[in-house]
Subunit: 379 residues, 4 copies
């Protein structure tokens, strides 16, 4: 298969997440980086792009130039990857969509609901693919849990308990720490820190696995480290459309936790449990038997999950592979569309702009609820 | 040491919890069962009491008779153990206290706050000991965690995440099930099922370990199994006096969970984590080092916890021992008082009527909050 | 049911294991302590016996006197519990058997194979019950695993990997340590320390669960702490009669392990796994499905195991209950025999003198193998 | 940095391990695949090579041609990766070394000790780098454990318990199974299956982490599945040079285990424990404190380990990254040597031909021991 050309905005030298995106794409080698604008510092951006093997005429001064020039080249990029800080997602995505270039963007998608709605509208009008890198839904076991729920193995969903504890912001964030102080500066970081950064992963994971939409939320955002303005901890009570309740907790002050996104789903016929730090395994308890430990790659897995498994059971897969599992269906769908074929629902096996919009709604409604003293707010 | 005489109300043949109380007391052999009224069915009660080795003249028709006659005997019981359904706790405890007999009662202590306040008032006035069997705080590791927090190992408490999932009420409770249908009948069971039964254990465990009092709650009680009136699942957001927040979840529909009371306490200097199903171990993560697994009986334990350890590390202790660790300090304190000595604060190393009252307040305020659509209610 | 009278030899004040025996018996209250000889120091012995509530005329100067006098009393003890150091087991058990008194003895039963064979012979001739307190086989989940293997759930057993790591002898044992130096003195402790003390538990556990007899062993006993003569670590390759192999490892220098007796049994249709430190759970993996976690007390348990479960799933049981589960069937069988009824195979649901003999054989053959440089030695 | 050119022998379409090697190299992008001979079927080989983007004139008929032609090109490959079945490793590696091309080869390196010794000799004479892909030593936590032992955190090593249970050969391997029957055919597979395939990983892992060499072995290889000639289970008692003992168990019939390589190292000052299926964590127990859980990426890690960490703690890394961590130091060392710089000991931070030779010795001596009925055999 011919490799598809892509470009990147953001993700300069030393930027963690940009490197993850590039490595994840390289794992399957279905796309190749051909253009970029990696930093506001044009010199640095070009030097880094050269290091990455990109030709000089495709290293751009800004994303406007990049969108325009790539759109006009015959060999221009088919899709743009936006890995800048959240504040600029909207403008950048819009610029590329406007030029007819497909987009993959980091989460959370935008600051406001309206911005996400507009991006969704443009991408629909122009029939462009739009992926949002909620990386944790790329794990094969997440796909398997989704399938089991679709197949009715849990029956009606009754309750979801999901959490995302970390501890990297449990200490003071100041000039002496390795963490940039702007993270806690609302002027730069926006109205939320913890909920927007990791709470949104909970929302997307639950939505992906259960297929349920949130009807309303009752949230409390806390700033538990002294002197901090933005939230570093958040509790959210949730009610789903069509029945079922949920409780979400995200925290960045939870000593003893690295990155422990965890989901527990209780239905009328059984339950499912998974934690991101041990991503190859999940637990299924049927109502009439003992708890079962399912191991990625085993024959019990459905083909819709198994196809994302790269190495046999017991040979650990990690974040890069999960990320690659977002890009793989995106690029395969894009190839199909570029070949002129019509896409089926099943081809869109990645978080789309709709998922991005839901995330932004969730964040904004929780903020609203918390500001009013934890009242119920409809989504 | 001479054994102290005690009597029991409730706990007839086949009643689970009464048997646990008797076995737990027998483990240390500091008290001996001498009188009882085990069932409303007088014949059954007497037959069972005889089986337990109690003399006929101390097997009573009802608790009023028992309180009166035992109080008037020279060799009468020193304390009464009340293990009847919750609805009758208030009347029974009051009857014995009124006759000057010390009391141990199951939790939750009473239905209303006023009832608990009255029991507290009487016991204070008459200088009677009053224990409430919140059994899970009897575990030696609970004592150790409490000590570490008292010693400042966590610094200021920032957040508590505690939960108590079970699954034994996840199926329908009807004539075909082994679970008595009255559990779900509000006329018999009162205003709450799940929150009152197990949510109250969360409240007591957190209060015991952290020493913190709840300022206000925002609760949602759910009836997730179809056709059910009472709650089988409850989420509670909590705020503590003097700072710190909490999130409590209790559930009886959580397939895959037996009895998994679990507590995680996050402070500014570290965290603690414990789950009741693995009661001999807890986890301590200091802010500046890796997570540590502490094992009951090891030299690191403080004497205030170690004194409750009965067998060496790695030799499991369980529920009977936890229960015995409620009775042991109660009976030792009682002996001391009976010898005419003055009790110190440290002698009252068991849940007292104050703890019982706090629990009843917690339950009632959560009910109030939930009924009003999850508003904040002060305790 | 009337309580049976028993007596104890050894288990004086402060002796850990004697107290465990007494508490375990008291848990079910089926037998009551009526006579004893708790220490070689007669004064101490009598003082302690009095404290335990035993009448003065049944506190004896030595076990000979005790056996003789108790045998001649109409209300004499029905069985004697021997909890002295191993060296004296043989003489004491023989004394009581000779007088027609049933016996329960700690493990390992005797030093030599011949001694155990003689005890077995006498008990058979006199039709006396003889229990050996391999406590770890009392856990309900051990009974359940045994049943599943009997029922063919694993098919033919292929391999057993069993281990028993501890760390309490990893440091130097000298005048400064809390551990008595005689433990490491072969003149007092006999020819083995680690293998005899804990390796023998592995042997009994495997034999109990699988029903397999050992055909031959190839062993290496190590003294890994400098300056030590006796073993503190032992590796044993095993071959079973009728096919199947095993590998046993016991160690007392394994930092990080309290008392982690663990068994993994692999058959042609599945496997079982259990660790004593988490005694209420075991893992069953069928050849055609995911690993299952079985929880004591759940409906899946067979009645032969369930009958030993005392509290519901998730309410931890521990060592006392396991010990009580050795005594319970012993005392029930004894009662039946005393009532003149004939015992069935199923009544002897405790480790008998045959199990004791197998253990002594195992220890002696391993010692022989190791001394000769790890050659194969038949049992 | 300029990318280094490499070629591959074996690893054709659908071959699992060849794909892993290519992906692992691509992750860091330090080398690029430029030549190959992927299959004995020349047509298939060339078709697959074209798919991989290799030019036609560098797709070879056999490895002799490849070695010769690549050696004579100015832009010829700097190193060859040999991922063929074990039987051909020796010939292929020798062919490339003879032409002055550096080599990376899968494990076990060769069938006989003499073959490995010759490969070592040639590579030394010609000053060529030679890597052996014992992938599991690439994990950052393995590097960290090695450093802690080098730094004396365990003191003198006393005992190692290591195991590698799998279950994929627990069922019959026949025409109906997905596993090629030749695996169990000694004419094709050589003298060992389980020990050679996975037992050798144990040997290398222990040697890497502890730095200890094996002095002698006493082994038992078992064929536990009926009708099988080659081993599917192996127990090995080990003695190290300079003191310390070990016990290794590898098995392919262990239902419930995917790929559970596990190591436990006990020293006089503490212990270390790690299992490959949870590769980002290990446990350190100091002699004077509780067990600690160390998490990859945390500040406690030494730079020699931390440099191999790619994403923050809690973001799982897996097999691809471990593999990449074998290639990364190999390629960096090769670059340095190609730049004419002298390599230091520290540059060779990957399993070299010496490690390969030790593995082949271990396998052959264990086979010898087992054939003679588990006698001790010196290495």
């Amino acid at each position: 298969m011919e490799q598809i050309a892509y470009g990147m905005i953001g993700g300069g030298k030393g930027a963690f997440i940009g490197d993850v995106h590039r490595k994840a794409i390289r794992l399957d080698n279905l796309a190749v980086l051909k253009a970029g604008c990696f930093s506001r510092d044009v010199e640095k951006s070009k030097a880094f792009g050269t290091e990455l093997g990109i030709k000089g005429d495709r290293l751009y001064t800004d994303y406007h130039e990049m969108a325009e020039k790539e759109a006009s080249r015959e060999d221009g990029i088919a899709f743009a990857v936006c890995v800048t800080p959240n504040a600029s997602h909207y403008d950048i995505c819009k610029a590329f969509l406007s030029k007819g270039i497909h987009v993959v963007c980091d989460k959370p998608l935008t600051w406001t609901v309206e911005q996400s709605e507009e991006l969704m509208r443009i991408s629909k009008e122009k029939n462009l693919l739009f992926g949002v890198t909620y990386s944790y839904t790329g794990y094969p076991v997440v796909k398997q849990m989704r399938k089991m729920i679709q197949d009715g193995k849990l029956g009606k969903i009754r309750f979801v308990n999901a959490e995302y504890p970390q501890d990297w912001l449990a200490g003071p964030v100041d000039e002496h720490s390795s963490i940039a102080p702007w993270r806690m500066d609302p002027k730069v970081a926006g109205a939320t820190n913890c909920l927007g950064d990791i709470g949104s992963h909970i929302e997307n994971l639950v939505a992906t696995v259960t297929g349920k939409k949130i009807k309303k939320v009752c949230a409390r955002l806390d700033s538990l480290v002294e002197g901090r303005t933005l939230d570093d901890n958040a509790s959210v009570m949730v009610e789903y459309e069509g029945g079922g309740k949920g409780l979400y907790w995200s925290s960045q002050i939870a000593f003893g936790y690295d990155n422990a996104l965890r989901i527990r789903i209780f239905g009328e016929k059984g339950s499912l449990e998974w934690v991101q730090e041990d991503p190859d395994y999940f637990y299924f308890t049927p109502c009439d038997g003992p708890k079962q430990k399912w191991s990625r790659g085993r024959d019990q897995f459905d083909e819709s999950a198994q196809q994302y498994s790269r190495v046999p059971a017991g040979h650990p897969e990690g974040l890069y592979e999960a990320f690659a599992n977002i890009y793989k269906p995106f690029i395969l769908a894009l190839s199909k569309q570029l070949r002129g074929e019509k896409l089926d629902e099943i081809d869109l096996d990645f978080p789309t702009v709709e998922a991005g919009l839901e995330g932004v709604k969730f964040i904004n409604r929780c903020l609203e609820s918390s500001k009013q003293g934890s009242v119920w707010v409809n989504l």
